[in-house]
Subunit: 410 residues, 2 copies
Amino acid sequence: MAWGNNVLVGQSGGPTAVINASLAGVFESAKGLHCKHVYGMQYGIEGLLKGKLVELDSYLDDKMEIELLKRTPSSYLGSCRCKLPQPDVDERPYKTLFGLFAQYDIGAVFYIGGNDSMDTIAKLSGYGAAIGSDVRFIGVPKTIDNDLLGTDHTPGYGSAAKYIATILKEVICDSSVYDIRSVTVAEIMGRHTGWLTGAACLATGPDCAGPDLILLPEHPFDEEVFLAKVAALEKTKHNVIIAASEGVKNKDGVFLCDLVSTAGQLDAFGHKAVLSGTSRYLADLIRVRLGCKTRAIEFSTLQRCASHLASRTDITEAYQVGGAAVEAAAEGQTAKMCAIHRLSSQPYRVATELVDVAQVANCEKAVPAAWLTPDGMQVTAEFEAYARPLIQAELTPIYINGVPRHIHLG
Amino acid sequence: MAWGNNVLVGQSGGPTAVINASLAGVFESAKGLHCKHVYGMQYGIEGLLKGKLVELDSYLDDKMEIELLKRTPSSYLGSCRCKLPQPDVDERPYKTLFGLFAQYDIGAVFYIGGNDSMDTIAKLSGYGAAIGSDVRFIGVPKTIDNDLLGTDHTPGYGSAAKYIATILKEVICDSSVYDIRSVTVAEIMGRHTGWLTGAACLATGPDCAGPDLILLPEHPFDEEVFLAKVAALEKTKHNVIIAASEGVKNKDGVFLCDLVSTAGQLDAFGHKAVLSGTSRYLADLIRVRLGCKTRAIEFSTLQRCASHLASRTDITEAYQVGGAAVEAAAEGQTAKMCAIHRLSSQPYRVATELVDVAQVANCEKAVPAAWLTPDGMQVTAEFEAYARPLIQAELTPIYINGVPRHIHLG
């Protein structure tokens, strides 16, 4: 394929364990198509607007660097949370960007990210079409939240799900060590959708009973129903395990964590306390109302950056969508996102496909209501059948001196 | 070796990623010496006092089970936090226990644990000697805290250190993703000693600058000196990383986390809030006084149960001290702990040795003052040289269906 000019790639939004695998896919695919230079935006579109871009060819000129890139969490190029204005409101950023595209002879732009990043691709391709530019714009999906429309799932989700399932198994082992009754509440990321929290079901197996309750943002939290359920569980087993989304809301749509911070607490310095606290709220609720020993654990940032426990399926797919995005651009496509289409779950088979990026941008895909049990406190076998293939297999870190080796720009 | 009778083994105190490897070492060594039965105390000495013991031979009769045992976190037999009374104050538990030893024809008792467990071994062997019993009592060291006297280090520490170093590296990658200045405070376990927090230095390498500051309980925290240091760091780098022990105290000996909870906060239910909060305290302090964006991360329970990231060196040594304890008992030793003696650090070589358990019980080993920098906010190269060998190599989990397989009693 004749493709004389250069390409530009950026990463945006929250990092994941495999966003750099998509970058590797874009890079190697572009080099395979004989692009002269692959440029990277530093800190996404925000950095690019300040003229921050880097020629990647000299940084990634060895297969070893590609292998390390696939195993390095967070965004190799840096990221941003930046939304472009509508061009009819403010055209200046577009002029700056298309000026840079011309200056660097950019034939195609790839943006690896979630909803907001697809909005960027939609706006850039719309503006490009309006001014008659022939630069092509393709979105590469990425988010641990798995809330993107138009794709069976998003790269990043599988690794976060594998991390959540694995450490929940370990926490469950830990919770049963003493001969006492206890309730453990594990708080899992996902403010608006329950894909990550639902992945707690993957802890379940012949050696692990898994979480007793799974609370998703999709189902309104009812305190009394919940307490009755916990009380009933407490009667039948020593250690009750609850996986709760940070985004669980009551029937008035108020986040449980906001119920904590609206209690008017001050931090040690007299300022209003900012307590991230769905798990703490639930643990306190159970302790106060049911009088049992409780423990709250936040799974925290590690959910998005635990590359030491990445899913090989996820890494492979992240790499593939990056590569397929480049091929699509080379074939003349633009204003598309390179999605994953599931052909079958057993055996698990997928293919990449292009979807209209405008249909993806700014939308949010929730867990289907049918994948929750009627009481809204567990996920069904359909959820597990959907998620289980995404956490299969591992990509062993390259351990040097006892810790995984990463790669950094510069 | 002729050893006609049975042995009994228990696990005590907080779980670790490798305490079950010591159990495997005891079990396999005892079977190798043709012990008829290996009994396990369920929930330690506390469970044993209630008559809870189990014959392990039928549960661990296959090499596969031993391999899974080595990879299962937490205590396979269950644990307790129980201290025996002095026999002259209350002889009843001793009568119960020695009655059980006679009933089950126990020739030797092995107790895998920390300071308190060595106290149990010391008391049992003392009482046994006083009544002329020939049951032998050997302690097997275990604690992630690494605060046991008489041994170069304790099994459990290396794996916790490897986990801390690895996830700190990942958190550091994550912290630099946006083009903004920030301070990240990672809170690490170890209420009384700084061994675990010091292990944060192991994140440092050619691909990672490591933590800028390391705060141990061994050095009194001075707010103004600390803030001046953070302010100076903030001028030279975008992302400041601080590793802080949960046990950091001010010069009056007050834990920083207690400074948080003494602010008189109430939880959402009107009860006094229990905030574990050294990292939150420090993050708030920096935010309020220096006006920068801060983030607090608790490394939490995973430090003691992340068997998916265990150190192979640690697992091997945990197994070895278990085995050596059995050999020592078979040779007639009692009232001893099976310690690890370091022969050299480069190359790393160790041997097991027996130490008098009475000299270990109830003591606590702090990080030597010489291993902290003069300002008390970093560890020295000596610390790293000590700790680095302990995190070397891995024991890959046996992944089934995407998650590590464990083994449970019963």
